[in-house]
Symmetry: C2
Subunit: 210 residues, 2 copies
């Protein structure tokens, strides 16, 4: 058996920035509790207890349950943006960059499926301000992928009828990996990343697919 921290760590390599240790342990406990029981069925007492702490100790770090969800959602979205931005801005053709963006985004959703599910399915549980902040991050995520597709179309590498709709479909395809991915299934995150990069290059009509 692995600890909650080890499990969530293998999910998403973005928790290191959360300090002190107690604040990180609480965040990891919240991810697991929200994923298992849903946001509304989880109490701050449940989260504290999973982290081996008292409710009073939780309130030192987080004022409300929503603050925990907001923090998890922000970390998840910032990491998503970083992954896509890195792929979008590297050297290489639009074809290479789109394949890289898709395969790395897919690998991250497969490995970080627990966090990704919480982030995606509990978006409506955020309050208006937190939600507005996260939606702004989502528009940036969208813009990175749309940018690569637009460049590929302009350069004649791709043949795309509907850039906005294709961008939406590409992101949707990658995100849904978090719903169905199974660690005991027949495919590794790397294999799914490679398959999906090829499928997405087909979707954009890339002329130079391998």
């Amino acid at each position: 058996m692995s600890t909650a921290e080890e499990r969530a760590d293998s999910d998403l390599q973005s928790w290191a920035e959360v300090t002190p240790d107690a604040a990180r342990r609480l965040l990891l406990a919240a991810v697991e509790a929200f994923a298992e029981r849903g946001y509304h069925a989880t109490t701050t007492r449940d989260i504290a207890s999973r982290a081996g702490m008292s409710p009073a100790a939780l309130y030192i770090h987080y004022k409300t349950k929503e603050e925990l969800l907001h923090r998890i959602s922000r970390i998840g979205h910032e990491k998503a943006l970083e992954i896509l931005r890195t792929a979008a801005r590297r050297e290489g053709s639009a074809t290479e960059r789109l394949a890289d963006a898709v395969s790395s985004f897919v690998r991250w959703h497969a490995r970080g499926r627990t966090t990704a599910r919480v982030v995606q399915y509990e978006l409506d549980s955020l309050g208006p301000d937190a939600r507005a902040e996260i939606l702004a991050l989502r528009r940036q995520v969208d813009a990175e992928v749309r940018g690569i597709i637009e460049e590929g179309a302009a350069a004649g590498e791709f043949d795309v009828l509907d850039v906005q709709g294709t961008t939406l479909a590409v992101l949707s395809l990658c995100i849904d990996v978090a719903r169905w991915f199974n660690v005991n299934g027949p495919r590794t995150p790397e294999e799914i990343g490679e398959l999906y990069a090829d499928l997405v290059l087909r979707m954009v009509g890339a002329k130079n697919r391998k």
Copy 2:
């Protein structure tokens, strides 16, 4: 303002089979409650109250909360199977049948997003027997789409490297529409269905795309 029944009816045209009326009203109330608060945060008392009934009246129709989820999940999966089976077994080329399967499956997920979310995201909340029954239905859903892709590949209409993986991706793309579809968004279910049919024909390398 529409009633819960009107809203859920526009979501999914499969509730008519549920009789008597009280049993149907309770099922619709459960869909809404599970979608809003999650399965674990919803009590049978909440569901009865949403349906304007007493908890005792609920127990006449459903012994447990899980029975409600099981019934919702079975209706959703049977309808999914019916939609794909109809498209798979109609007259026409594999290209036409795949386009039809994808566009109708997408339209249904857009219109029935509330039910679809409950069915997809609460699968782990089912007990072992109910879960096994639903997983068997999911394998049949998968087999319908895989069948069309295999036939298209065998007939030389499609160019597919990985039939199993492509089937998974096609279903995943359609299902995730329920997560992001917004009735106030710029696209209708019909428009998304058409866009996605084209994207999926690209994914399978269809030679006779329009």
